[in-house]
Symmetry: none
Subunit: 208 residues, 4 copies
């Protein structure tokens, strides 16, 4: 028991140190980019020595992967379309968008910034990420859309494409914000409603 207890504490210490490093790395990588950032930068930001990082991560790339892994975990935890059962689409949509966008805090934006920047020019990472995150998410979402469509709640559409368009809309807004667009930043809170509005009714539709 005593040993198991010690092991547990050990694990927690290790996890804490890893998180400490990943937090620092996230900030630094987002600021300077993965390549311009040095291990020393990260170490300094984490308040530890250069070498210490290599106790917890095999190399610089492994730190990046660590950031990506944390994103995965969070994403998995978030992927809950469950509560949709008894809402109308409009409500569900707004709620879901609000959840997603609210959830992405400043730290989340940094992570997206880093990951996206690197994924765009790193084939291995791209494939890995698509397989582990994007693909599964689409598969999950697809089922919901089919359900709604079969129920006649939304008009007939090519589901995979429709889904991708909605995703793209959100993704594009994220990118636009990352590019520093002030309008998006100011209106961030209103976006869920606006997005839902547009997605559901288009720019010509009645409502609003």
């Amino acid at each position: 028991m005593a040993k198991s207890n010690n092991d547990l504490i050990q694990e927690q210490l290790i996890a804490a140190r890893r998180n400490q490093i990943l937090d620092a790395a996230t900030t630094i990588f987002a600021e300077k980019g993965f390549h311009r950032a040095t291990i020393r930068d990260v170490a300094k930001a984490a308040g530890i020595a250069d070498g210490t990082i290599y106790i917890y991560f095999e190399n610089k790339t492994a730190v990046l992967m660590g950031i990506l892994d944390r994103l995965n975990e969070t994403d998995q935890r978030e992927a809950n379309f469950e509560q949709s059962a008894d809402m109308d689409i409009d409500t569900f949509f707004r709620m879901h968008l609000r959840q997603r966008l609210d959830f992405i805090g400043p730290k989340g934006m940094q992570v997206i910034q880093i990951v996206l920047s690197e994924i765009l020019v790193n084939l291995d990472l791209r494939d890995l990420y698509y397989e582990k995150i994007i693909g599964p998410t689409f598969q999950l979402a697809e089922r919901y859309f089919h359900g709604w469509m079969d129920a006649g709640l939304i008009r007939k559409f090519d589901v995979p494409i429709m889904m991708r368009m909605i995703t793209s809309l959100v993704l594009g807004l994220l990118v636009l914000r990352l590019l520093g667009d002030p309008t998006i930043e100011e209106q961030w809170q209103k976006l869920p409603d606006v997005i839902a509005d547009m997605v559901l009714y288009g720019i010509q539709g009645e409502k609003s």
Copy 2:
């Protein structure tokens, strides 16, 4: 006169060499990323010596800027909303989207890949780019939307946000394609119509 003639030829030669280098750099940067790619890689791809690049560009960053500048020029050339006068919005929209998306050839995708990747983690570049490209484009577009709205062709909306959503939709689709989504790639030709359809009528709207 002879000299002026020579100068002209000179200029063309220089422009040709610069483009040769930028073409090579675009391919290489897209493949490996700006930082992982070496000047030697680019020189080899361009079929010239390392040092030659420094005759045409001050440094590696200047090559990146060169790629960005060519994007600007092309963009400027494309920014023609002019012919909208006598079309209905639906037609105009589809046409405009088709133009934009068609125009982005494989080379264009590479450029976006490079620029986006770097812009995300380079504050200077980001500001520069926003000022020179994104900002002006929005300003231009804004006028058109106001025109349509005043004419009652589209419903009342917060124009800056609406515009940004449409832009985000296209931007997001580009990113999704760059991330390797096969569905988007296969359906690329159909996108202008699908986008227009969704933007105009939403997923609940009538039409098809």
Copy 3:
């Protein structure tokens, strides 16, 4: 008295630990070489923690010196030409060689490997070793050879050189074995006789 007793036990414990470390170090150093081997390698092989080594040895070099010191001690213990009094040279020679070669077990080979490798490129160690081991051994041996020569048992020769040649022969055979020569390894048991035969009679001499 009790304290003295404890001290004794203490000393033995310390000696045991030191030997445990030196044994591990010998194996590891022989495998990877002194420089490629890390303290962690040695600690792991000894089944202890990195830091523990520094309780028993000042630094990595001191571990190497420890190995060398054990070699010295063994060598000193072995340097017994004493029993020569009543044998003829032939018998004495074979016996002495057999003793020396037999004595060098696998562990001994490893030690020679390590020490020789390092001595060759470490001036301080070289001088130290020459002073403490090689020089004294030659001085001791020289007396015997002079005795035999004066007694007419061997022909007139430049004693220091002759001695060095015999030593070189044995040393050379050790090195050749360390270099992995399979013939030497297979015939190791026969070497004392063959060496004696050649040293005493040459390759042209009568006998066998």
Copy 4:
């Protein structure tokens, strides 16, 4: 033709630079040992920049291999037992030994020092070296000994072992000299005769 000429000059320049680096490395490696010596040390000794070494050698290990390769080439050039046809063994032996020992200049000693030191604790290098140098040399020599033995010029002996003993004698003397034995160093010029004398007649044999 002009091109072929340029290529030739290029090759010579490259070879010259490589040799310049290898010369410097030989001195430095012999002084400090391969591992203690830094690339900077070698570069400084060669009067060039650190990075330049990497134009001519893939990495530090490749420099070591370059030294080893030059040794090989020299060795191959030296392996001429040819002129033995018309001499008696005694003369041939002395001549051959003189050739070998004379040939090993100060540079040669350094090379042996480096190579031996590293080979002793580097399995890969050891195998490589045995295959490429030691093995072939023994095979070549074996034929000569068999010839002499069949002709009755030397007494019956286990040829592989005899050869190895003679080799060991020379090798051992080299090592002893490398270990700093002053006697060996002073008498180096006389060694061929003394060795031949002992090898041929033993320490008990007649002659002198």
